[in-house]
Subunit: 420 residues, 2 copies
């Protein structure tokens, strides 16, 4: 039986460690060169497969591939492109199988969040029906930490660490300025529907009463009156108030506090402007001088301060995906399982993709403090190991020396255009 090649693609918003998963996939495949052929990467994610536009990773040096472990964002390009349902656009799935067949691809490694788990499942199902079986393994990735069945998601630990550190540093700044200047600082972080990232800011606090003083979760309906009262009380008691807000905070009727701006290809609303809106609210009601920051892409690309736990797990899920495929597994997502015990330890597991697709794991209610503005000890215990350890990249001329790949294309075999 001739060796099958593998296809690897990155999907959705990138993270500080998704390339560490790519590194795990490619290095592991190279170690099993007797059983697995080349790894072709989708140029700009699944779009690359549809267009037959793939990068031949076998032409990258071992050093370049190793450098992916410390390089943020998606080295092969990612995409926001959700395949429609089989009923709506069967042609897309058939095209994928056609491209995979043309390039002797027998392994499909899809590195993404909930939407890509769904795509991964459909590719697996359809390939069997079309008589060209492909083993589809989903490699979890999302800063939002909202995938089910895995204790945590690669990408989250690093954004969590960044947000905790940034909150701690900015809080020291406000504390130093508050006597005669800024009294309120607002940091807007990512998290459309789940408050995991905002929750991580609480790890900035060493002692009870330390900032952040208020965390706003999408899971908790926003009440302006309670919020303003808490801000005022905090400034009176502490002299200043630090607020960390999830971009998806909304009123009890589901209205976003900051108006939605546009809608992306997955149908997600692109949010923004929450921090200035909250600042204006506070200024109007209480008159305090404020500062606000919006971390946006800075938070999810901050490889310079990635969590060592996160980097290790991101690599491990990539490695496991290849090992699972070689063990004959199909249509599963690699999961991270937390083991019992005082000391944090974990192992890898798996879950069927039919169970995963399109479920969002929100913050459990016992992770949010009674007043709705903080987290519980249970949440702290969960978060603590995920931000543990510093995995610094190498530096050159004062900035991180990130991988620059050659990205040589795989020669096309179909050469038929495909409109997406």
């Amino acid at each position: 039986m001739p060796k099958k090649n593998a296809f690897y693609a990155q999907s959705g918003g990138v993270t500080a460690v998704i390339n560490a998963s790519a590194c795990g996939v490619i290095e592991t495949a190279r170690r099993h060169g007797d059983k697995i052929g080349k790894v072709y990467a989708g140029h700009n994610g699944i779009i690359g497969a549809l267009r037959e536009d793939m990068i031949d990773t076998s032409r990258e040096s071992d050093e370049a591939i190793a450098a992916l472990r410390h390089t943020p964002a998606g080295a092969f390009g990612s995409c926001r492109y959700k395949l429609k349902s089989l009923e709506e656009n069967r042609a897309e799935y058939e095209r994928l199988i056609q491209v995979f067949k043309a390039h002797n691809i027998g392994y499909f490694f899809y590195n993404g969040g909930g939407d890509s788990a769904d795509t991964c499942l459909k590719v697996s199902q359809l390939s069997e029906k079309m008589g060209y079986p492909i083993q589809a393994i989903h490699i979890p990735k999302t800063v939002d930490n909202d995938l089910p069945f895995t204790d945590n998601c690669p990408g989250f630990g690093s954004v969590a660490k960044y947000v905790a550190i940034s909150t701690k540093e900015a809080s020291l700044d406000v504390a130093a300025m508050c006597e005669s200047s800024t009294k309120v600082f607002i940091l807007e972080v990512m998290g459309r529907h789940a408050g995991w990232i905002a929750a991580a800011s609480a790890m900035a606090a060493e002692q009870a009463g330390d900032p952040p003083h208020i965390i706003l979760f999408p899971e908790m309906p926003f009440c302006q009156e309670e919020f303003i009262a808490k801000v005022e009380q905090t400034v009176q008691q502490k002299g200043y108030c630090v607020i960390v807000a999830s971009e998806g905070v909304q009123y009890s009727d589901g209205t976003m506090i900051a108006g939605s701006v546009t809608t992306d290809a997955f149908g997600h609303q692109q949010l923004g402007g929450l921090a200035p809106t909250l600042a204006a609210m506070i200024k109007h009601e209480l008159g305090y001088k404020y500062h606000w920051a919006v971390a946006d892409y800075l938070q999810r690309s901050a490889r310079h301060i990635a969590s060592a736990t996160d980097v290790e797990q991101a690599y491990a899920v990539g490695q496991a995906a290849v090992e699972y495929a070689l063990a004959g597994k199909n249509s599963v997502m690699v999961t991270i399982e937390r083991l019992a015990g005082e000391e944090y330890s974990w192992r890898l597991g798996e879950v069927g993709l039919d169970k995963v697709a399109n479920i969002e794991k929100k913050m459990p209610s016992d992770f949010i403090s009674r007043d709705g503005f903080g987290i519980t000890q249970l949440a702290r215990t969960y978060l603590a190991p995920l931000i543990e350890g510093e995995d610094y990249p190498p530096y050159l001329n004062g900035v991180p020396n990130y991988a620059r790949l050659a990205k040589l294309p795989v020669k096309k075999k179909l050469n038929t255009p495909f409109d997406i």
Copy 2:
């Protein structure tokens, strides 16, 4: 002659390394315990002196003082409080001298920017007239890098490094997303009148054509037409466009692009909202999907990725201030002098405060590229050593272990209230 005590205060916006200067002052004073008494720190800057509210640093352990070297923001509290002119409020200056006299303070170390250099000068002048001579030494500090007579300002190198790294990381993110999603990313950075911080983002580029593609300086009048044309051209050529904008960007008639919000105690306008304004402009003219970030306090408090050069220099200017005072100097600012040669080297110098006060050093015109959207090789050569080296803080539980001082008060001797 009884030993005189020293007064140290932090002024204006804090930085990632102003506490390293404090560390330099206190550790050096401790080493000269035979000649210099205690170091009293102003609680919340000069306000602490006016209120006779001082922190006795002699009651902090050596370990706590050493930890200041790796701790961001102002450990003793800073303030935005500009003393009026001698003619307008002589009482304030007299009060300072009175407090200094009551506490046997003979050395005044003021750690700040241009405004505090002015205060430092006046204290020195008036103290002589009032027959209680005080040696006033100004310790430079400002992320804005706009003090004259010094090659660079402590605090700038670290914010420059942070902005260069953040720009590099976010650019990789946009590059990965641009095929099907975000095409334009805007990072708003500090810099009211001088574009030094925005300029530093250019250090993210390894090769010509690398992001950032557009830098907006306060020194260059903003022309919407040219800007939009450059954004469009960049997206067409590169697939995406990364923009770094100084908060103080303005039209040729001096109007700020983002409306000013409030005015601080120094009469500076508090700006904000530039990034979303530019984003809306681009969306309206070109229709591109965008993301924007506002780094705000995150950039100037980011001790986790401070420049090693900056930390070393910040400590050195604090140390020198004490040594200058012991050498009998008065009414000077410590300066950093760049020495000639291929390899970067520097030494400390001094300049009379009468020359420093209220001069802002903007970007020289030969540091800005001809099209006004980038920097020249001359600027790169200037900036390169300032962001060199990583001086990582120690970590505990995944976040930096920053100093927590006891901050015990100096017993009041005057006990007369003073309204500020």
